[in-house]
Amino acid sequence: MDISLNKFLVAQKGFSLAADWTISDGITAIIGPSGGGKSTLLLAIAGFVEVSSGELLFDDRNMTDSAPEDRPVTLLFQENNLFPHLTVFQNTALGVRADLKLSKADTERVTETLESVGLANMNDRHPSELSGGQRQRVALARAVLRDRPVLMLDEPFAALGPALRHEMLDLVARIQQQQSSTVLLVTHNPDDAMRIAERTVLVADGVAAESMPTANLLDNPPATLIEYLGNKKGPE
């Protein structure tokens, strides 16, 4: 699914974010200094932050003012993606029906999906009994069940160690391929972008730039990105 931002502007007290571009299927990373508006971009696309001017289109449907639930979007947060007093199964099943009234087929589907993200036999546990990585797996399982064309992730694996993070990124890549969805991944780590994202959007100084092939962007970084990343290569 294409996501188009046409002369798109979010303006709040002492902060603004502008964008004017389209992205398509595949994984796009969003990178840039903190406070630059990466999260705001996702929140606005998901319908949680009001758009000041411009348009937001999914394929050719204008959904600038649609309610969050009507948008073809699932957004994963960095934390608090699960309700603490619901079990793993219930938290996942919310992706099928928000009132948790499930048919027998639904129940089986939820269990299968949990198995497919590596959470077999965890159905009755509560979020507090899970590790950080497992919690995000539950959230991903729910996203799979919701089956929306757009999946957005706001630094979902920032708190995980490198090995686990790579594992989770690969899981995201797998889900993207299965569902041929449009994935937006906010990260502060250029390695994440290199690992799974063909294209990358740089968000800095109140502007979300048009996406570029990740390798090109990181090989020839613009000044704002150098400032953020630091001069990794050192003097040659």
């Binding site: 949680f48 969050p68 608090n80 993606n81 309700f83 928000a98």
Partner: protein, 527 residues
Amino acid sequence: MAVRAKSINPVVIFGGSAALLFVALLTVGPLIALWMRADVSTRLSGSNWSAIRFTVFQATLSAIISISLAIPVARALARRQFRGRALLLTLLGAPFLLPVIVAVFGLLAVWGRSGFVSQLLIASGGERISIYGLTGVLLAHVFFNLPLVARLILQGWGQIPAEHFRLAAQLGMRPADVFRRLEWPMLRGILPGAFLLVFLLCTTSFAVALALGGGPKATTIELAIYQALRFEFDLGKAALLGLVQFSICAIVAFWSLRAAVNANFGGGLSGAVKHWDASSQVLLWQDRLVLLGVSAFLGAPLVAILIRGVPSLGNLPVTVWPAAVNSVLIALSSAALSVFLALSLAAMIDLLKSRDSRLSSTVEGFGMLTLAASPFVLGTGLFIVIHPVADPFALALPITALVNAAISLPLTLRALLPALQRQRLVYGKLADSLGMSSWVRFRVAIWPEIRRPLGFSTGLAAALSMGDLGVITLFAPPNVETLPLVMYRLMGAYRIEDAASVGLVLVSLTLTMFWIFDRGGRLGHQS
């Protein structure tokens, strides 16, 4: 490198122990006196039993009504951003500082026989309403406790992560689902503690029962004690009733400490979070009505006091000034004592925590003990202790200050202890590693951390003591008065305009005193 054991500061231990002993004498002493004096041979009479039943009944009902009304109020505040929201939050804090007798006056001016509502009813061909008895007691208790509970619950709403409301919106949860999955679990954590707190406050609110209750149908235990002491002079019966009252409160206080509600009277209430499930027009109007309703309910009595009181401010009764001096003296000395005790205890609790956490908790429990002993029970006990050796009526003012200090101790301790502990957590190791002397450490690390809660709790203790109309009624001879007592007596004599103007003086002094201390604690304080 060996870690050098921190030396025990003898000043802290000595001061803390002295404070502990003092608090023990002040609470356990009167209880022992009650125990020894209680006339167990005379059984509780029928009217005593009905007083016990009424006390429990009205407290239960008050708590249930306050909580049921507070939930929609808190929810509306949690999910709506509007102009005047901050003002409404302040209004919710006002009843806690308002002297009880002033609030009662305001409520009577609105709901009483010649009040605003009655006049409206008569004008439309109806009849006057009378709120004396159960109705009045409930009305006053809801007036005081609805805002308190609403603030508690609002904090609970603020603790639900914003992500959860976004998640609910994305998943398309209906309002009923949001209530069941997000809000009810939060309420279930808060409501038991809130219920017990309100129940406790309503069993020990003597002034409300004195002004609005009475008679065979609406007498509380404390009112029965008052009658036994002042009219029948039956010390044995008063002592026995005092023990009954203490037992009820102790049981409830014990429960409520276990329910561990974080009664943060200081505020720090965050802004509204958008709740997408509540975007329908029906719910918007429901919230508007709820907020308008609660503003009117809380605001009308305050406005009534102003309307009635301002015109006769010019010719205040002369008794006002000596009474005002008495009140201010009582308030200042009891606040000073309360804060001094709280600081001494807090320093010791904090010091003990790292060594012997059980001993530390015991000391903390002692500080909270007066939560269970109502001022009235303590007063009765002290009366019995003093009676054989001195004239209790001659000591009315010092005793009132003393008891008020003991009663506000749980509040001041709860405000100061966390600040002191935070200070140790944040700066303790740093200060130790720098080898700071006690004085430098106090100036650099402790004082900046505690000055805000210190100012706030001094103001709170002073305001509560200023409005006290409990102990003073037990002890005061006819010629010694405090402002609340003057006002109560004027109301009893149907000098309504005079009572209103005295009420205004009382409120102004109370709020000014709170403001000065609270403000003083914040001056020059960054963020």
